[in-house]
């Protein structure tokens, strides 16, 4: 059974249609890309799947559960996570604290435990700190651990956001334009990390405009245009599809 199953999903805002009749499946541990011109509805589709806006109709099944009515945080607890097009770092916290804040099910988030279960809270903090350091090493952010997040470059912020999501031990990460505003060296770095995560069995779904980097990264692509899915398949196949060339690139490639 597919991990994420989207069935006939549509979103209308008044007379405006963000997307409609979207149906697709993401397999467990798959690595998939999503392309489309600006305004094709990609980000809106992401938002609908992850709970940031309510679709007009259709279903979203995650790990066999209908999550269409779930709040954002309920979906996250099931393992369905995302990053943002514009990084949303916690600017006043350090890089390390950004990851620590992300740790799920912390007893220290509960005021009663802070008073009555201090030992347990401290133990959890040590465990989470260890995990956070492991993730910072993996992302090669360890040297920046005690820098304020606001002082990072755009690409580093994208890595940080990925790191925060990894603290959640997710089953599926939706990445919204991970390469936008990132320098070429870091793009390579980020691609390698994404492949590593794929190898660990996490399902990844990537929106990206950088077609070269994306087609090198993913074995499967979807293409959207004006709110509809118009093609799917291997990257070389999708990029040659006349409908995609017509809609997305205006026939320039």
């Amino acid at each position: 059974m597919a991990l994420l199953s989207v069935h006939d999903l549509s979103a209308h805002f008044g007379a405006f249609t963000a997307f409609e009749h979207i149906t697709f499946d993401l397999e467990q541990g798959s690595l998939t890309g999503l392309i489309g011109s600006n305004g094709a509805g990609k980000s809106t589709l992401f938002s609908a799947i992850t709970g940031y806006l309510t679709p007009t109709s259709g279903q979203v099944l995650f790990a066999g559960t209908e999550v269409g009515r779930y709040a954002i945080e309920q979906r996250v607890r099931l393992g369905l996570t995302r990053t943002f097009q514009v990084p949303r770092e916690f600017s006043g916290l350090t890089v390390f604290q950004n990851l620590m804040a992300a740790a799920p099910n912390q007893d220290g988030e509960n005021l009663r435990s802070l008073v009555f279960a201090q030992g347990k809270v401290r133990q959890q903090e040590r465990d989470n700190a260890e995990r956070a350091r492991g993730i910072l090493d993996f992302l090669k952010l360890d040297k920046l651990a005690s820098e304020r997040a606001s002082s990072l470059s755009g690409g580093q912020k994208k890595l940080l956001e990925l790191g925060r999501v990894l603290m959640l031990e997710p089953r599926c990460i939706m990445l919204d334009e991970p390469f936008a505003g990132v320098n070429p060296v870091l793009i390579q770095e980020l691609s390698n990390r994404i492949k590593d995560l794929h190898a660990r069995g996490i399902a990844l779904f990537v929106i990206e405009h950088d077609l070269t980097s994306l087609s090198r990264l993913v074995p499967k692509l979807y293409a959207m245009d004006r709110g509809r899915m118009i093609a799917e398949g291997a990257p070389e196949h999708v990029l040659k599809d006349p409908k995609v060339r017509e809609a997305y690139m205006g026939g320039v490639i």
Partner: protein, 291 residues
């Protein structure tokens, strides 16, 4: 005769609702376009009302000229604060503008009380006998007030929907970055916005000053009602603000038959909580997406 009381309360509510729709429109436009609840709105109204008092008592000007002066001066006041304060905060969080608008409210009101003191004033208009239909009373002055308010409201809708300037304002309200990118001069839109806002606050303040008495707290005490009406109508929706204000003031007038007029703010407060609980996007509000 309960239905006579009800009818009178309803008529009164409609008149007050129409005139308060002017500052409510000012609140919703700033909320929708400049993205913050402007807490100085009420005290701009107070400023308008005192301008007429000053024009009549110090300069002995006729009412019509006083009203025109009030609208113009309040517009200038509003523009001044845009130019000095809000312009610098456009790119900061709306929180900054919100806190500053409270500061402006305090500054405007204290300047008024410094010169005019805490005592009450009235704006005298020629007394006309009310028309009486079996106890249901219609005061001609109220009709004038309602007429002025409706005219101003109709003009706004013409401005917003029929002129290029209005189209630009709506574009900025929809998406400021996109509007800027497509070549709209956001600064000019803001200047227009704050001029209109001042104008409406001034006019609304004068009209409520004619209907009731002029006090330093005149506008401040209406602020919560304005916010509540705007939220009920759907933030950023001009038509919603008018409907919200009418709903509020009619129900408030009717409720005050039973609970007494001093509970008006309390009533507005609980209605606001109710709206936020049941329909936070308001009657005509829309949902915004996250990027």
């Amino acid at each position: 005769m309960i239905w006579v009381d009800l009818a009178n309360a309803t008529i009164n509510g409609i008149v007050i609702g129409l005139l308060l729709a002017l500052p409510a429109l000012a609140v919703t436009l700033v909320f929708g376009i400049a993205r913050f609840p402007n807490a100085a709105t009420g005290d701009f109204m107070t400023f308008g009302a005192y301008t007429v008092v000053a024009a009549k008592s110090l300069l002995a000007l006729p009412l019509a000229i006083g009203v025109a002066m009030a609208c113009a001066l309040t517009a200038l006041l509003s523009l001044f604060f845009y130019w000095w304060v809000f312009r610098a905060l456009v790119r900061r969080s709306p929180v900054a503008s919100l806190i500053v608008s409270i500061g402006i409210a305090l500054v405007v009101r204290s300047t008024i009380t410094f010169f005019a003191g805490q005592s009450q004033y009235t704006i005298e208009v020629p007394l006309v006998r009310a028309w009486n239909f079996d106890g249901v009373r219609i005061v001609p002055t109220d009709l004038y007030i309602a007429g002025v308010a409706v005219t101003a409201l109709v003009l706004t809708f013409c401005l917003l929907h029929l002129t290029p300037l209005g189209r630009r304002m709506r574009a900025v309200a929809d998406n400021m970055e996109l509007a800027r990118a497509s070549g709209i001069n956001v600064g000019r839109v803001m200047i227009t916005l704050f001029a209109i806002v001042g104008f409406y606050c001034g006019l609304g303040g004068v009209l409520i000053g004619i209907k009731a008495v002029v006090l330093p707290e005149l506008g401040w005490e209406l602020l919560l009602l304005l916010f509540a009406a705007v939220i009920l109508g759907g933030i950023g929706s001009p038509l919603g603000a008018i409907i919200g204000m009418l709903v509020f003031s009619v129900s408030q007038e009717i409720a005050s038959l039973w609970v007494g007029a001093s509970y008006k703010i309390v009533f507005a407060f609980f209605l606001l909580l109710g709206v936020l609980l049941l329909r936070p996007q308001g009657i005509l509000g829309k949902v915004r997406a996250v990027r």
